[in-house]
Amino acid sequence: MDEATASGLRIAVLVKHVPDAQFDRHISGDDLTTVRSESILSELDEYALEAALQLVEAHGGAAAGHRVTAITMGPAAAVNAVKKSLQIGADDGVHLTDDALTGSDASATSRALAALLQHAGPFDLVLTGMASTDGETSLVPAQLAERLDLPQVTFAASLELTPGDGGWTLAARRDSDTYAETIEAPLPALVSVTDQINDPRYPNFKGIMAAKKKQIQVLSLQDIGLQADEVGFAGSWTTVEAAAPRPPRSQGIVITDEGDAGIRLVDFLAGQKLL
């Protein structure tokens, strides 16, 4: 099939507003949720956004009817992740926000995102980062794929799409400890990508200006057909009972090599019973 006759791709990129890892990150005392001041677009989601933009560009871009939508859920400030995505090159954005979402674990988050994607879609491809840089569970992409009954490719280190008679097919490569795998799946599908897949671009002046004109749809739980008790603390299947900062590591001994540092290292290891 000729590329021009393949239908326009709709790609959803899930983007998260997360505490900046460059600063100390905190869990708040009262409800044991993450403190979200000093937050940024998760660096790992930038690779997913870049992958979406490259896929679309490889197949004719917006002119061919393709569209990249940046999607987030979270409090008012979370929209900043969508705004940054629009500056980088996404075409439009969706922000699900509702007080009831506070405290959602992976199961509740994936329930909300599944309903959100169904409402805002249909999408041919859902792209995510390999993990959020705050929760770090990497459960959400797999649970979303399960809830939406989509083929799932996680930790993709490369990604290509090919149009065909029966629709688009994706090909990906990924590396585990024991294997290097090649994978194929029909669209629609869900793919999470690693930081090996590309080098994310930065927003430029033109992109920042263009973003001002792009649409961000703001939705509530009611809009996507969910009840308050299906998400947040009430809709979660796990609970955090206590969280305590680990005492910071203190600096130990630092020596400067005067020709015997290797021997002094062995003395240290022997003293620690590490040999």
Binding site: G252, V254, I255, L265
Partner: protein, 315 residues
């Protein structure tokens, strides 16, 4: 008594250390049964049997392993139903976490990953924010599905080998799934697995292309070799050796950081190590802020001297 189902993926010739740890933890919690996604040899099955396992579950369709994750998750959910297990334990690889994630949705059950300790009432301990918080959490709904990090529990001595009996469960494969079309096995190094190693020697950009001195030291210490992203990006060592936020999280007894500056994303993967040693020629490198023993010096002289000294002492 609660029945505890242990999911074991990719069985090798015999039980791996982390698998023995999982079976030991399970035995401390209740009656143990096993779900085996792939074909296993007799020695492996006898090994499972030596942990008191009398039954193991197998999918009735070998194709569960040809599709990514979804097939194994469907199989695990069926094995949980068939066994009536109240607790499910898996390893902590990315694939195991995803199998846990998807079967959690199928079973309406909560999932907790990266567990390092579990007490009798199933309160799980894990660390968050790259090791800067210790968190206690629990599954509140459904079967408790937990993925447990290697080296978190002591593997107890197994009993005499015995053959558990296989129970086949019917698995409905997903309608649309990603298929594995090619698989190339990676060469094995002969050194311990990074996530299981007691000692790790990790190198960064400062290694400047030559991991030889690090490999020699690792071999003298019986350790594994890891790397920073700068070193894996440069192609000096395999990507699977990367430690950090987007690589592996490790917490060995001893972590020797060589020619690594100690960026936040690198520290994220190693700061829960018991003892940290750093060798770096720049005294201002942030790695020295967390090192128990720091050496300001050139790795090309410090490492060979240390390796030679270890060998000389016959250690």
């Amino acid at each position: 008594m609660t029945s505890v189902l242990v999911f074991l993926d990719h069985p090798a010739a015999s039980l791996a250390k982390s698998e023995r740890e999982l079976l030991s933890l399970a035995a401390s919690l209740g009656d143990v049964v096993v779900a085996l996604a792939d074909e296993a040899g007799q020695a492996y099955l006898d090994g499972i049997g030596s942990y008191g396992v009398q039954r193991y579950y197998r999918p009735d369709d070998a194709a569960v392993s040809d599709v990514l994750v979804a097939g194994k998750a469907a199989f695990l959910a069926e094995a949980v139903r068939a066994s009536g297990a109240g607790i499910v334990l898996l390893g902590n690889s990315y694939e195991s976490k995803e199998i846990a994630a998807r079967s959690g949705v199928k079973l309406d059950s909560g999932v907790i990953t990266d567990v390092v300790a579990l007490d009798g009432d199933l309160t799980a301990t894990k660390s968050d924010f790259a090791g800067s918080y210790t968190v206690h959490c629990r599954v509140t709904t459904g079967v408790a599905i937990l993925t447990v990090k290697p080296n978190s529990v002591e593997a107890v001595e197994a009993g005499p080998p015995s053959s558990p009996e296989a129970v086949r469960v019917a698995v409905e494969l997903p309608r649309a799934a990603a298929r594995i079309t090619g698989r190339v096995e990676k060469p094995v190094s002969g050194r311990p697995e990074l996530t299981e190693a007691r000692v790790i020697v990790a190198g960064g950009r400062g290694v400047d292309g030559d991991f030889g001195p690090l490999e020699d030291l690792a071999d003298a210490l019986g350790g594994a070799v890891g790397a920073s992203r700068a070193a894996t990006d440069a192609g000096w060592i395999e990507h699977s050796a990367q430690i950090g936020q987007t690589g592996k999280t490790v917490s060995p007894q001893l972590y020797i950081s060589v020619g690594i500056s100690g960026a936040i994303q690198q520290k994220a993967g190693m700061q829960t190590s018991k003892v940290i040693v750093a060798v770096n020629k720049d005294a201002d490198s942030p790695i020295f802020e967390i090192a128990d023993f720091g050496i300001v010096g050139d790795l090309t002289t410090v490492l060979p001297q240390a390796t030679e000294e270890i060998r000389k002492r016959g250690l």
